[in-house]
């Protein structure tokens, strides 16, 4: 058996041995191992994919939440703003109305006072007139108590008439 010349017997046995190993391993080792590896790789891949998906969903949810919170904040601010504005408006309106009312009341009061004053003045005038009349009557009664006085007056009156 030379060192560099292949021998028939050894070729036969090594071919047989290799084929037996190839057959047995292909059937009972490589097939299950490769199938299991493939399956595991697939399951890892799908797990990674679903994890990625979950992460994306989480991110989406978070973004959505943030958006909602943001919108809520804006809405709240708006509401507060509007409320304060409304309050201001109401106060303003009330003030204006109160002022107007107060003015009206004052005017009415003034008018009433004026009317009363006038009535009182009329009354006073009447009273003064009556008092004057009474005073005049009394004076006249006293002045013209005598017939001479009455004659004198008549004379005087007659004198005026003549002059005219």
């Amino acid at each position: 058996m030379g060192l560099i010349t292949p021998g028939l017997g050894l070729i036969f046995w090594s071919a047989l041995g290799f084929l037996i190993v190839l057959f047995l391993l292909s059937k009972y080792a490589w097939k299950p191992i490769l199938a299991a590896l493939d399956e595991r790789e697939k399951s890892i891949e799908s797990a990674l994919k679903s994890a990625e998906q979950a992460r994306n969903e989480m991110a989406n949810l978070k973004a959505e939440n943030e958006k909602i919170v943001h919108e809520a904040k804006i809405e709240r601010d708006e509401m507060l703003h509007r409320a304060s504005e409304t309050a201001k408006q109401i106060i303003e309106e009330a003030r204006v109305k109160a002022q107007a009312d107060a003015g009206k009341i004052l005017e009415n009061a003034k008018a009433a006072i004026e009317t009363e004053k006038r009535a009182a003045l009329e009354e006073m005038k009447v009273q003064v007139g009556m008092l004057s009349l009474e005073v005049a009557e009394k004076l006249l009664k006293k002045k013209f108590a005598t017939d001479a006085a009455q004659q004198a007056l008549v004379d005087e009156l007659l004198k005026d008439v003549k002059m005219n």
């Binding site: 030379g2 060192l3 292949p6 021998g7 046995w13 041995g17 190993v21 490589w30 191992i33």
Partner: protein, 342 residues
């Protein structure tokens, strides 16, 4: 630490060599290094050691088929000389004798016979087969019993290698579509060569993967698989290389045809040379001890042998990888869907 030890022993060996121990050995230089070649070559019996004059050998069956005498099976120990208890070419059994180059010959040289003996290398192959089958089948058991779980035990050792062969050798060279078909072959090839190389490194193990018959057989397998699966493009490339003017084809086609055979030839020679050379280097360092018969050389040689053994571990893996890689490349070339590059 190791370097210090190495340098001291080297220094010692130089000094002690000059002092020169008295040479006590009997016999000439030939007998001191004579064990190297028989080790790397095949034999009809498995010789482990010689203690005094007792040979520790495992006799193996000799199986011979000849048209005239039919199938004959007998033990190689029948060829032993009665005095030396070694195989001698003077002992003739059933008309056969084993010559000095460990070759079975017929006493009548005109006879035709076929030698199918379970030689040392065949016995070694059975051990390698048993180890591979045990390893792989017990690894496969894990995947059958508990699929989908992380590998444990032998499976965790095998799995990365399987994944490596599949993803780094088969897939890039053969391509996605067809690699599944050839992965079992490449895996078997890789483990057969690798385990063979590793077991061959054991002391007194046979040099199975460094045997030209084995590398020849494996190369032939790759050759057959490559050419059986060669597609139209592959054969067109060989017999009518596209883009080459007709007169040049006269030169190119023979070159391409020779190329078909040089590929497996390179596979065969590469593995044979790498493994056999490694064995010879290790054995030569050991032989140095017997040649010089000096303790210092013994220490230095042993250190070198350990060192070379580590390299051989690397070579064992690299050669298995290279053989598988090139097989995958050749198959890949044969099944490639072209993309013409010119």
């Amino acid at each position: 630490m190791l370097r210090k030890f190495l340098s001291i022993s080297l220094l010692l060996s130089v000094i002690l060599l000059n002092v020169s121990f008295p040479v006590l050995a009997a016999g000439d230089g030939e007998s001191k290094t004579g064990f190297i070649l028989p080790h790397v070559m095949d034999n009809y019996e498995w010789h482990f050691a010689t203690i005094g004059h007792t040979h520790v050998t495992l006799p193996l069956p000799v199986i011979v088929y000849s048209p005239d005498q039919g199938l004959e099976v007998f033990m190689s120990s029948q060829f032993h000389d009665h005095e030396t208890h070694e195989i001698s070419e003077n002992v003739v059994v059933n008309g056969y004798y084993i010559d000095k180059t460990y070759k079975l010959k017929a006493a009548d040289s005109s006879r035709v016979f076929y030698d199918f003996s379970i030689t040392k290398n065949v016995a070694m192959m059975f051990i390698i087969m048993a180890v591979i089958l045990f390893l792989m089948l017990s690894a496969a058991k894990h995947y059958r019993k508990s699929p989908g779980t992380a590998p444990k035990g032998i499976a965790s050792f095998i799995e990365p290698i399987v994944v490596f062969v599949r993803d780094e050798i088969a897939l890039p060279n053969i391509g996605h579509k067809k690699c599944l078909k050839f992965t079992p072959y490449l895996l078997t090839l890789f483990f057969f060569i690798w385990i063979g190389n590793l077991l061959g490194l054991f002391p007194e193990a046979a040099n199975f993967t460094g045997n030209i018959s084995l590398t020849f057989t494996l190369a032939i397998f790759t050759f057959i698989i490559t050419n059986l699966n060669g597609n139209k493009d592959y054969w067109k490339h060989v017999f009518a290389t596209p883009g080459v003017p007709a007169p040049l084809l006269l030169i190119i086609v023979p070159v391409e045809i020779i190329g078909l055979f040089t590929k497996p030839f390179a596979l065969m020679v590469r593995l044979f040379v790498a493994i056999t050379a490694g064995h010879i280097v290790i054995l030569s360092f050991i032989a140095l001890i017997f040649v010089f018969e000096s303790y210092a050389v013994g220490v230095a040689s042993t250190i070198m042998v350990v060192f070379i053994n580590f390299i051989e571990l690397l070579v064992a893996t690299i050669q298995a990888y290279v053989f598988t890689l090139f097989s995958a490349m050749y198959i890949g070339l044969a099944v490639a869907e072209h993309e013409h590059h010119h």
